[in-house]
């Protein structure tokens, strides 16, 4: 497909409706990033998504867009509940891959001398990397409870407190989860992975708040300059991957019975009203809840590690969850379309929800300032905290970017890193890193990713979410 782009303004480009497209595509970007975007097939994927039945508004692309499977990564699409579809590829294999940010009372200068030891302690205590298994052993009844109760299950088991749930998207448990729709395979793959970080671009990072952009919102989020924060980026592990795989294959088999053409096999989908569609949503919710339980457990173990390594009390540490967001999910949400309030199914694949101030789903503590939007940088690069703005509800179904996205393949990154001591380069920048995988550091060099600051600039400039704080890494553990 030959994709034509029409610039609307400095932050938005239109892909006009052509061929089988039912709606226009809309790409949030800037003059610099749009050149990369045109380099792969991601725009074709935006156009392909626009062909799906029941799509409402635009087929959207966030500024960190890159090509994925069917849907681009950084893709957002909303569907009408009657005519629309649900697509596992529009959520992603890692269902509820997401992140959480914790604040502390500590100042970075207090703990900098201890950072190397702290990173070692975290590396010891947090299961990470390929093949890593958890110390948590789930009984059969627990397996069913985790996927329904999500983060609340973890809290009941002593991992954290009930206050954490209020600061988690969907209170850490999506409704509609039904363990009976999970395959035995999905259960088996997730059985010994609860409480593991994962590998690839997942990480746990100790950071310093190195710039505040908006004092009022930063205060509401309990952020201050020089503060130590901790970021966790992880997902639903093997359970989520298998759910996506199971349903993609089922929907792929049934696609010939539908009356619409699919331009790409990986867009396999089912009508939201169909039995298959309902079953996927129920399984997806299970995986999402597993991921929230996972991050809740990882947070608890992080706190335990910090208390021991720094020999301080919980009161001195003062760790508090700022927020937890998912960036691979499909949710039924209320949106205003042509003046009318309508429930739509919003797919966010590599995109984060961004609720504006006064939205009813916000916890009371953030009602005046908007939802924290957490944008992880990749290994050794900056992360950001933003606040959801009204522009997101008006223009992107309440969505924002999720991170930077790769520009180099793993092979290209490894080539570029050849002969370089990456962990030494990071140490020279004041960042201590430990990773399990031998190739991880080379594959994950910062040059492999888009400039996250540019991505955030677009989101801020387009009015989707506004900058609140910038976070710089001090110590990282990776799988």
């Amino acid at each position: 497909m030959d994709i034509k782009l029409e610039k609307i303004d400095n932050y938005r480009w239109l892909i006009p409706k052509t061929g089988l497209m039912r709606v226009n595509g809309l790409v949030f970007s800037n003059a610099e990033l749009i050149k990369d975007v045109q380099g792969d097939q991601s725009l074709t994927q935006v156009a392909n998504v626009a062909t799906l039945p029941g799509i409402v508004g635009h087929s959207l692309a966030m500024p960190d867009i890159h090509w994925g499977y069917g849907f681009p990564i950084g893709g957002v699409a909303a569907f009408d509940l009657d005519e629309g579809i649900i697509s596992p590829g529009g959520v992603g294999y890692d269902i509820n891959c997401g992140c959480r940010l914790m604040t502390t009372r500590l100042r970075a200068d207090e703990i900098r001398p201890l950072m190397k030891n702290l990173v070692s302690a975290l590396f010891q205590n947090i299961p990470a990397g390929v093949g890593s298994t958890s110390t948590i052993r789930l009984s059969k009844s627990d397996e069913a409870k985790v996927v329904v109760q999500g983060a609340a299950w973890a809290v009941k088991k002593g991992f954290g407190t009930i206050e954490d749930l209020e600061r988690t998207e969907d209170l850490g448990a999506m409704e509609g989860a039904d363990p009976s729709v999970l395959s035995e395979r999905a259960i088996k793959r997730g059985r010994d992975q609860l409480g593991t970080l994962g590998s690839g671009n997942h990480f746990l990072e100790v950071q310093v708040v190195d710039r505040i952009y908006n004092s009022e919102k930063a205060n509401a989020y309990n952020l201050f300059e020089g503060q130590v924060t901790i970021f966790i980026h992880s997902g639903s592990r093997g359970l989520g991957h298998q759910v996506c795989d199971d349903f993609l294959k089922q929907m792929s088999t049934h696609r010939s019975k539908e009356s619409f053409e699919l331009p790409d096999r990986q867009l396999a989908c089912a009508r939201l009203k169909s039995d298959q569609g309902r079953r996927y949503l129920a399984a997806m919710a299970c995986a999402a809840n597993y991921a929230w339980a996972n991050r809740q457990i990882l947070m608890y173990w992080t706190q335990e590690t910090l208390l021991k390594a720094l020999s301080i009390s919980p009161r001195e540490l003062g760790m508090r969850l700022l927020y937890d967001v998912c960036h691979n999910i499909a949710k039924k949400e209320l949106h205003t379309i042509e003046g009318k309030e309508t429930v739509l199914c919003v797919h966010r694949k590599g995109a984060t929800r961004a609720l504006p101030p006064r939205h009813s789903l916000l916890p009371e503590v953030y009602r005046n300032v908007g939802q924290p939007v957490l944008i992880p940088g990749d290994m050794g690069t900056l992360s950001y905290v933003l606040a959801g703005e009204e522009g997101a509800m008006l223009n992107s179904f309440g969505s924002s970017c999720h991170g930077a996205g790769r520009v180099l393949s793993r092979t290209q990154a490894t080539k570029k890193a050849k002969g370089r001591a990456i962990h030494r380069e990071l140490e020279d920048k004041g960042i201590f890193v430990q990773s399990r995988g031998k190739r991880t550091l080379k594959e994950e060099i910062s040059e492999a990713y888009k400039d996250v600051s540019q991505v955030v600039d677009v989101v801020h400039g387009a009015g989707l979410a506004s900058r609140v704080a910038r976070l710089r890494p001090l110590g990282v553990i990776k799988g």
């Binding site: 069917g70 590998s199 991957h241 793993r410």
Partner: protein
């Protein structure tokens, strides 16, 4: 093509991992694809007790068959902690495959995990006849 080597090479893909696999015929292609994928995931000499497993896979066409075949091999590792050490494709058609798998249990003292493959995707999947051999392109989500 060297019949004594696994005929595959990596395919450059920004976000994930792809391979291009070659085989003299369809049986060889599917066997090589499975063994190549396992080689990416785990390193180690097969040792100890082996088991023989029969596997039947069905698909809509060759590309679908390839994705489903590799997904089964992947699940054996990820879900059952079983490593494929050898395979014989007994019969294959564009929509059906019968195979015998020789497997061994994953043993961390013998096997090193190199890479976590989340899934075998349909993204750009190709299974094609070239002049004197078959070729497949597969992308994995990692």
């Amino acid at each position: 093509m060297d019949p004594n080597k696994l005929n595959f090479k990596f395919l450059d893909h920004t976000a994930d991992l792809g391979i291009i696999v070659s085989g003299l015929d369809l049986k060889d292609l599917f066997k090589t694809a499975a063994k190549s994928m396992i080689k990416i995931i785990v390193k180690g000499k097969p040792a100890g007790k082996t088991n023989t497993v029969k596997l039947t896979v069905e698909g809509e066409d060759l590309a679908d068959l390839m994705v489903r075949w590799l997904s089964e091999i992947l699940y054996l590792f990820e879900g059952e902690k079983v490593v494929l050490t050898d395979v014989e494709i007994e019969s294959i058609s564009p929509t059906h495959l019968d195979a015998i798998l020789i497997t061994t249990s994953f043993d961390p003292s013998l096997h090193e995990i190199l890479c976590e493959i989340k899934a075998v995707t349909y993204h750009q999947i190709e299974v094609e006849k070239k002049d004197d051999h078959w070729e497949a392109k597969v992308i994995f989500d990692v």
